[in-house]
Symmetry: C2
Subunit: 384 residues, 2 copies
């Protein structure tokens, strides 16, 4: 198998973008990534999108977007594992280059979420849970993660303030990211007094509804070396599933799919959690970031809350997490989030992250997740 590198990245301002369609968002980020990579051809395309059908009334976007990018004829595949669709797209692009089928693969994620009403968006997002056994009973995602949060607080003594600190940290990072949907700081007090969504989660614990896209160009490492730029390799890939229904888990606080995906990625890269210099995780809700820290092995089970409180995951902490602002502040166009994580880590490892740069970052990790953790994809990136 060949080694694979990320040689180009593209992302544009995320938010409630009523003047841009799904295809606009896709094409502008793809062109930025192609320009950044300096390539003049694409052999294959993968597009991660959770529900272009329910959000935008359009399936078959793989072909539509290849066409709209002026690349009709290039093989193009849309892939989906709910909010982990972007991470899945990277995995498949990686595989196609590793096995020598293609040399230049455009991997994108895109979601246009604000053209439907709030109720329709809640319904569409709810289709990532078990609709027959969870949705039918009225459970939506804030409710599912609220159950996880209550269980974590009960079992480990995680505090309401510790949850808030995840939001405070991610907004502090997001304020330094020009493409973030909400590039402003918030205080613990603001989080604690924000509108209640599903007890104990308040609106400032929840990632927003976002229009956005992100793109990464992958190629063999030998090709990346010829660009003269820093070579950012993907050295670990992990992907796993768990029960889709939360009620079927042995422990509500433990994200087994994240653990399994991370284990696979660490083994492949020959690295351990403690080696990571910079990390992007799937903080769809504040509690998710805490559970993911534990499942990735950055802290012991139950110690995520205190670790956040002690600043371990801050920009200047031991393991800076979500330097981009995370899903919370940067936004969460569901199918795009996993690809945006790779954009951020590539920028960090190249030393191009501006105000939010982690000094001398050489090893990075991305962790993308679907549903209440039923799918997870983990990648490890390494500067050569």
């Amino acid at each position: 198998m060949r080694e694979v590198a990320a040689i180009g990245v593209g992302i544009t301002k995320w938010g409630e973008l009523w003047k841009k369609s799904l295809r606009d968002l896709y094409v502008e980020t793809a062109l930025l990534a192609l320009d950044d990579a300096g390539v003049d051809r694409i052999d294959s395309m993968y597009v991660g999108s959770m529900s272009s059908g329910l959000f935008a009334g359009q399936e078959h976007i793989a072909a539509m977007l290849a066409d709209y990018l002026g690349q009709a004829s290039v093989p193009s595949a849309r892939v989906e594992t709910a909010c982990a669709s972007g991470g899945l797209a990277i995995k498949l692009g990686y595989m196609e280059i590793a096995c020598g089928i293609s040399d230049v693969v455009l991997v994108s994620g895109v979601e246009k979420m604000t053209d439907v009403s709030g109720n329709e968006a809640t319904y569409a997002l709810g289709t990532a849970a078990d609709q027959e056994y969870e949705g039918y009973h009225g459970l939506t995602f804030p409710g599912l993660y609220a159950l996880i949060a209550r269980a974590h607080m009960d079992k480990y003594g995680t505090t309401r303030e510790q949850l808030a600190m995840v939001s405070v940290k991610n907004h502090s990072n997001g304020a330094k990211n020009p493409i973030a949907q909400y590039p402003f700081e918030v205080s613990v007090e603001q989080v604690l007094s924000s509108v209640m969504i599903a007890d104990p989660l308040r609106i400032l614990d929840c990632s927003p509804i976002t229009d956005g896209a992100a793109a990464v160009i992958l190629c063999p490492v030998e090709m990346a070396r010829k660009t003269g730029k820093a070579v950012i390799k993907i050295t670990g890939v992990g992907h796993a599933t768990d029960t889709i229904e939360l009620s079927q888990r042995k422990d509500l606080t433990w994200l087994e799919a994240v653990y399994q995906a991370a284990r696979g990625a660490y083994a492949m890269a020959g690295k351990k959690p403690q080696d990571m210099d910079v990390i992007e995780v799937h903080d769809c809700f504040t509690i998710a970031e805490i559970c993911v820290m534990e499942a990735l092995g950055l802290v012991e089970k139950g110690k995520g809350g205190p670790a956040v409180e002690q600043g371990m995951s801050a920009l200047d902490g031991e393991f800076p997490i979500n330097t981009s602002g995370g899903l919370k502040a940067k936004g969460h166009p569901v199918g795009a989030s996993g690809v945006a994580q790779a954009v951020e880590i590539t920028k960090q490892l190249r030393g191009e992250a501006g105000e939010r740069q982690v000094a001398d970052a050489r090893l990075g990790l991305t962790q993308n997740m679907g549903g209440s953790g039923a799918s997870s994809v983990v990648h490890i990136f390494e500067r050569e």
Copy 2:
């Protein structure tokens, strides 16, 4: 790259199956395929589904179905290129084994289409076309293929009767296939007097709305050789796209993506169209089968109609096409159709196709298509 074989197939009765849910359909075919393959583990799963969101109110089916099959933790990906989703799933399963990441991959296709109203189903299917530039103007798929049919009749003199003969042939084959949704014969007169849908296409020119699933187990050829059964290899893989909008094509009658996908598959397998013993094509409408015969290179441009009339594609013809009954008679659960094509070809090459067996079939081809031909995936199968 390793050689890849299909060692197990599973399919159950297709139709309007109100007593079976999406997960039931999936699991029963997956279990049949696992049983047929004689394997006791799955390393990875791909599920082709066009729009589980719009048809069944459920996204994230990759994880849900892994879970429901008792395989939570196994990496599972849902892939989509409209009605070519099943073919795409096979391509990706192939790739994963070829590059040595996995040994046993379960590739499935599933669509549960009859739990929504006819209008909703027409809308959902329409999302495979360009919704902003085609759907907005009222074009649905029968309309798009009617435009292709009219253009083909005008340019090449293809007759209304020749279109009908595709349906007659496929129903004749489907009458021999126990899992077909419509296992009965029809006459040219019946087709010509059936209800008009979009002039010149009548209802007996159109594939139906179907609930159904199909599954194939792929593995390395060395593993398949140990089973003692006939080894069915995948020796050619091709995938291409075309403009999603019909109006952007230079020639309405020419399916460029099919041509490109087939060219790729022939080159990889070192075979030519005339080598094929048995072929399954994407006959979503009768005209589609005629255009595909031309794009695959089985006949010259414009000669598809006369070839059907002369019996070239009949069960006892030069190139038996759609021995399964095709989408027309077997049914068209959109995301499953591409996988069902592989099931039929595998059975034919094993000599297990019963009444519809093509004598001594050694080489087979599947051609799956999305939208009005904006995506196509072609595979070549070979008995060792």
